[in-house]
Amino acid sequence: MYTTNAVRKEENTTSLEKHMHRLEEIPDLMCDACVVDKYNNLVFLSVWGRDTALQELYSRITLAKKDKEFGLEYLTFKIQGVRTRVYVGNVKELTKRSTRTYKQTKFGTLLHTWIFDKSCIKPDKANHTATVLLEGEIPIEEFAQYHWSVIKDICPLPLLDHWRSEITPLLIDHKMCEDLKTFFGQVGGVRLILDIPKLEESMGDLILRDRLTTYPTHHTGLQH
């Protein structure tokens, strides 16, 4: 496998090609989206390949350290000429979604698979954490709306919708909301890690100062 890859000629890159990234450890797998956290741990990976190669990927990242020869603790991509490692982290926290097998493509039978952190689809209410992923170009307001609905979901403190503009900066200031890194592809996201005691203290303070009120007040600043 490695030798055939070594003799493979470098193709001219076209505009289409920049979306596909070959996985160096398993060259028969191509990835079209990759999102990681601030430690370069895998959050979301979109992979195309044949069933055999995908099975190889699943098994090798599951083995990780246990198998020195075949285990994969990280995946390597060449991104804009720079070799970049994506760490698999805790494989038990990963899950996957796959298409049916596409038969008779130009590369034989192909599958499309997403490997991602379970927190992307299941917010952890006990620990008040969640990962919010979005695909494509999302209008900022739509994103903010969805983001807010997830915050309301994982926060045990009562939140009112008109508090959004006060609370969202609070989360950023206290580092409870981290942007995830998009290595390539059309997926981006944030990770929410709510610190409830800190949030309770800050919000209590805002309530006492009447910055958070029971009903929306219309101090828009516009002169009538």
Partner: protein, 492 residues
């Protein structure tokens, strides 16, 4: 001395690309016809160039009934060919998987040239004579033809050596050979019908071998391909079976990107898979009673501002129920008298209702009021009933087992827990220094929270009576996990 003859260099630079000349293609068309009009015919050009030749064959045989396949290595030419044929791979032919006996017509105008020694397509190269690209491509391509399928093979006459002639005569009947219209490359056009070896006419075979040899040696000159085909046309059979394989092995990023543009994969369902499904609270269908309200609150169905006219309070409430693990530990006596320490985690549903006090003038304004079934806070969650702080343990002790001898000591009043705690915290007791170092290494080498090598502690209970206990922790695989055994040295 030059690296390579300039004329040959031009050939290789174009990957041996010499498209078949237009008049030759036209005259070949005159020699072929569809055997079963209105039935599907599958045709292939494995070295298609811009795909002109195979596209013309497709039109000639009746475009709507023909599935045209092409393989071309050069990207630009492949791009062009893919607009003319139904299926086109941009690939080295040697990197493709194409089903055998699946095509009714094969148009083969291979690249011409000598092969480099150790060429990596050598698995197809069964040649014993001069190693030529023509032979490699012939060997890879002719099996694609169905029996009864028609071959059109274009090569320079001076490559028709004994070996290639023998191959052709072994695989094909009704062979005919003509000179191409364009004389520049000294090409001949060979037509034939793929035939099982057992069905070959040996006299014909011998005759054709003689003709090929004479042409190869230049003793005889093939006629030019006739403008008006004087015989019955070669009949291209229909292809009834489905084509199983037609793909390239090596993943090419650009080609894959194009394929994905068609397939789309999981992408259209991104929101379906990756967005949380959030329930939207609905208004109750009937006036809720108190217990309805209690249930709905704890289920998180009621949230928002509430005013109490009785107390004058304004609260913003939110209810929710989440799962917590409750730890339960017990000693269990087995039938053989040994005892097992069992630690069970039970899911427990905990309703929590929280409210902001928003009442102006209230001393609790801006404070959270909590109603729940569990005591808050629980600072010492990791401490079990017996006071063992499991969080300080360097490795999981898992199930705790003791032998009959130890059980007897426990009956006599021995408290094991301090020893188990020391063991868990890496105080290996009174064993040999080398064993203790081995234990330290085993703990350091832990992977995914489990031990690969066992750890063992020795504690002297009563030095006068030379009474010692051993505590051994081992990992027993994913199913059983860790097991810690307390035993007497004599019971080992």
């Amino acid at each position: 001395m030059a690296l390579i003859f300039p004329r040959v260099a031009a050939n290789f630079a174009r990957n041996g690309y010499y498209p078949t000349d237009e008049p030759t293609i036209e005259r070949i068309l005159n020699a072929i016809a569809a055997k079963d009009p209105n039935q599907r015919i599958r045709i292939i050009d494995p070295t298609a160039g811009e795909g002109v030749a195979i596209a013309e064959v497709a039109h000639h045989l009746g475009r709507e009934n023909v599935e045209a396949y092409a393989v071309e290595y050069n990207r630009e030419r492949a791009d062009h060919a893919s607009t003319l044929v139904d299926h086109c791979l941009r690939s080295d032919l040697m990197d493709t998987v194409i089903s055998n006996t699946s095509f009714g017509f094969l148009f083969l105008n291979p690249p011409y040239g000598d092969m480099a020694p150790g060429y990596n397509g050598a698995i197809y190269d069964q040649s014993k004579g001069r190693k030529r690209l023509e032979k490699l491509f012939y060997q890879k391509s002719f099996p694609m033809l169905q029996y009864g399928g028609i071959l059109t093979f274009i090569i320079p006459y001076n490559q028709l050596d004994d070996e290639l002639s023998t191959w052709l005569c072994n695989h094909f009947s009704q062979l005919r050979i003509y000179e191409a219209v364009d004389k520049q490359f000294k090409q001949v056009v060979i037509l034939g019908v793929r035939t099982k070896k057992s069905d070959l006419d040996l006299a014909d075979r011998k005759k054709m071998l003689g003709v090929f040899k004479a042409i190869y040696l230049g003793e005889m000159k093939a006629e030019e391909l006739p403008q008006d085909w004087p015989y019955d046309p070669y009949l291209v059979p229909s292809s009834k079976a489905e084509l199983q394989n037609f793909y390239q092995i090596t993943m090419d990023p650009a080609e894959l990107a194009r394929e994905i543009a068609n397939l789309k994969g999981l992408w259209p369902e991104f929101n379906l898979h990756m967005k949380y499904k959030q329930s939207v609270p609905r208004a109750p269908v009937t006036k809720p009673r108190d217990w309805h309200i209690a249930m709905a609150l704890s289920a998180g169905e009621i949230s928002g501002p509430i005013h109490s006219s009785e107390t004058g309070q304004t609260l913003i409430v939110k209810g929710d129920t989440h799962k917590e693990k409750v730890e339960h530990t017990e000693w269990k006596t087995e039938q053989d008298g040994s005892k097992t320490f069992i630690r069970t985690l039970i899911d427990k549903f905990v309703p929590v209702i929280k409210a902001w006090d928003m009442t102006d003038g209230s001393p609790y304004k801006g404070k959270i009021i909590t109603i729940t079934t569990v005591k808050d806070p629980e600072p010492e969650q990791n401490v079990n009933n017996d006071g063992v702080d499991l969080s300080s343990f360097l490795f999981p002790i898992g199930r705790l087992l003791m032998t009959r001898g130890i059980d007897d000591l426990v009956q006599q009043g021995l408290d094991l827990l301090p020893y188990v705690t020391r063991h868990g915290q890496g105080d290996w007791g009174d064993g040999y220094e080398s064993d203790n170092k081995q234990n330290d290494r085993a703990v350091k080498a832990m992977v995914d929270g489990h031990l690969y090598e066992r750890v063992m502690s020795v504690y002297i209970i009563d030095p006068e009576n030379d009474l010692k206990i051993w505590i051994i922790t081992e990992w027993h695989g994913d199913d059983d996990g860790h097991i810690t055994t307390v035993l007497l040295p004599s019971e080992y």
